[in-house]
Subunit: 339 residues, 2 copies
C-alpha cells in the first residue's frame, strides 16, 4: 500500500471566529505506515459537528485541542483497506475519529467500531452515530418528556435537534422548535414533524415562546446557549428540565453571556443538566435499536447535507455557524464501495 | 380578648434596595376578630429570611407579593391564646406565617403546624423549621455528597448555609464555606466546623477556590448567585451538582447577571437544580428526626441572632443584605411563656 497518498486538512493557525483560508492547509503526504495492532481505513464520509470548532481552540475540553500541524479532528466512517490486527478485516466498515483526511489509522479503542452488515454509511454519521445517540440520551435520560408536556428544541433543523424533537414527539409531547429563518422553520415542521417552529431571527423570542408555549416549557433540549437559552429559561414550567447539549452560540467567540433567567430554576424547581454522549457508550445499542424501530415504523426521519470533497470540509464546518445547514452536515471524502 | 391590640409593621411603599424608613410603618390597631375555624396566636419570634425581601417586590413568586397596607410576611412561632376551632387549643405552640405583627390568625392550613411537647421556640425557626429542612433536603436530595467529595457552601455563616455545611460534613465530605469578612469565616470554621472558609471580600475568589478545592467542587450549595455562583461553576468537578437554594445577591436590585460558567455543566456533565422546601412538606419529620439525632450526638450546632422587639424587624431584614448576620436572624416579638 506504499503507493497510496494521504491528503489532509491540517491546522496552521488557531482561528478567531470562522475558520479563515490561512488557518488551515490541504497537504498531501505518504500514507501512514501501520504498526502492529493497527488497520488502515479509507475514509468515505466525515461527520461535521460544531464541537469540531471547539477543538481548534487552545482550551481544555473532553478531548485535547488539535495541535498546529495536525489534521483537524472529526468523526467519520470508512472502509478498512489494510490490517495488522485481529480487530479489523479488510472490507470492514468502521466508524472512528477519521479526521479531515483521506486515510485514517484505527486501533481497537473506544472511538472505533466495526459496523455489522451492509449499511448506509451516511446514516452512521447521523441517526446511527453519536448524533442519534446524543438526541436519544438527552431526551430520554434528561428531558424525560411526558405525554402532553411541551418540549422546546433549539437548532431544531440541525442534526441533533431534528432527531431530539422527533423522539420527544414519539414520547407524546408537544414539540416546538427554534431555528433561524423561514426555510429552516418550514423543514422543521413539514419534514421533521414538529408542532411549531419559532424563527429566532424574526425577533422577540420571549413573545413567540409565550404564544406557542401557553403552558410553559417542561423540557428544553438546548444546542445553542446564549440569549436563546435565557429566553426559554424565562418560560420554564414548574419542574422543568433543561438538557444542555451544546453552546454553539459561544463556540466562535468563546464568549457566552450567562443566562440571567437561571433563577427560574430556583423559582420553578427546575433542573439544568449537561451530558456527554460518550459517557453512554455502553448503551449505544439500546439507542440504535430504538431509533431503527422508529425509522422502520415511519415515525423518524433523518436528513444529511453532503459537501462533496475533502477540500470543502472547512466550508462545511463554517456552515454550521453561518446557518446554512439542515440535518447532519457531512463531507464526502470518497465513494463508499459498500452501501 | 377585645381589649387586645395588635401592633404591625405594614408596607407603605415598595422599597428599592434596602428597606427605607418611609417604606414601612409600625401601626397599632385592634386585635383580629376570629371567625369559625380560626385561632389567635400571640407571636413570640419571627424568622427573618432573605425571601421576605422578595415578597415586597411586585413580582410573582411562589407566594404572592405583600400588598401595600398589609403586614410584611414572615414565618414565625407563637402561642395560641384564643381558639374557635378543633385544630388548635389555647396554649399550643404553633409555627405559621406570623407576619411582622404581634398577633396572628391561624387556620388549619399548610403553613401552620402545632409543635408537640415543650420546645425551644427559637430552634423552631432555625434548625427545626423550614431553614433546617431546606439545608437537609438541599444537601441530601440534590447535593448528595459522598465521603471524600468536596462541598462548597455560600453564605456559609447564614442560617441555611451553616446547617448545610454541617450536614455535608456528617456525610463525610470536605466542606469549604464562602462568607463575607474574617469574623464570619472564623465562626464558620471554629463554630460550625467547616474545613475552610473563603472570604469573598478578600478578592479573587476563583484563585481561593483553586487553592482550597484542589480536586474541584463536587457539590455546591448556593444561597447567593451572581459572581459567586459563576466562580464556583468555574471550578466544578466532573459530575458536579449545584443545589440552588437562593439568589440573595439579586434580591435587592432585581438584577442577577447570569453565570457564564454554566457551560461547565456541559463540559463536566454537571447538574444545577433549584428546589423549594415547601414541596417536601410531607417529609419534614424525616428531616427533623435526623437533625435532632445529630444535634443530640453533638455533631450539629445552630445559632440564632436575636433582634429584640417588633420595631427592629425591618433592621433585622436589612441586616441580611448588609452582612451583619451570623446564624438565623430572629426577631423577638414577645417572651415565650413555655420554653
Amino acid at each position: 500500500m506504499n503507493h497510496l497518498t494521504n491528503r489532509q486538512v491540517v491546522l496552521r493557525r488557531r482561528p478567531t471566529g470562522l475558520v479563515q483560508p490561512d488557518d488551515t492547509e490541504l497537504i498531501e503526504g505518504p500514507a501512514p505506515v501501520l504498526g502492529k495492532g493497527e488497520a488502515l481505513v479509507r475514509n468515505t464520509y466525515l461527520g461535521i459537528d460544531a464541537a469540531v470548532r471547539t477543538w481548534l481552540d487552545d482550551q481544555p475540553g473532553y478531548l485535547p485541542p488539535v495541535q498546529i500541524g495536525e489534521a483537524i479532528r472529526a468523526g467519520g466512517v470508512g472502509e478498512v483497506i489494510e490490517t495488522r490486527c485481529d480487530a479489523y478485516a479488510v472490507g470492514d466498515i468502521v466508524t472512528t475519529l477519521s479526521d479531515f483526511q483521506e486515510l485514517a489509522v484505527v486501533r481497537d479503542d473506544v472511538f472505533s467500531t466495526v459496523i455489522a452488515g451492509p449499511v448506509d454509511q451516511l446514516s452512521m454519521l447521523s441517526v446511527y452515530g453519536s448524533t442519534g445517540a446524543t438526541a436519544y440520551f438527552g431526551v430520554t435520560d434528561i428531558g424525560k418528556p411526558q405525554p402532553g408536556e411541551t418540549v422546546v428544541v433549539s437548532a431544531a433543523a440541525g442534526a441533533t435537534g431534528s432527531l431530539a424533537g422527533q423522539i420527544a414527539k414519539i414520547a407524546g409531547a408537544r414539540v416546538v422548535g427554534i431555528a433561524g429563518g423561514p426555510e429552516k422553520c418550514r423543514v422543521v415542521v413539514e419534514e421533521f414533524g414538529f408542532d411549531a417552529c419559532l424563527d429566532y431571527r424574526a425577533g422577540d423570542l420571549p413573545a413567540q415562546l409565550k404564544e406557542h408555549c401557553p403552558k410553559r416549557v417542561d423540557v428544553f433540549f438546548d444546542n445553542v446557549g446564549g440569549p436563546i437559552l435565557d429566553a426559554v429559561l424565562g418560560r420554564l414550567a414548574q419542574g422543568g428540565r433543561v438538557a444542555l447539549c451544546g453552546v454553539i452560540s459561544s463556540y466562535l467567540t468563546g464568549e457566552h453571556p450567562g443566562p440571567a433567567n437561571y433563577t427560574n430554576l430556583l423559582a420553578r424547581c427546575g433542573t439544568m443538566q449537561g451530558f456527554n454522549t460518550l459517557n453512554n457508550w455502553g448503551r449505544f445499542d439500546e439507542a440504535f435499536t430504538k431509533l431503527r424501530a422508529w425509522e422502520a415504523e415511519g415515525r423518524l426521519v433523518h436528513r444529511e447535507h453532503i459537501h462533496d470533497g475533502l477540500e470543502h470540509a472547512v466550508d462545511a464546518l463554517n456552515g454550521l455557524f453561518t446557518g446554512t445547514n439542515i440535518g447532519k452536515t457531512v463531507v464526502r471524502v470518497s465513494d463508499p464501495t459498500v452501501s
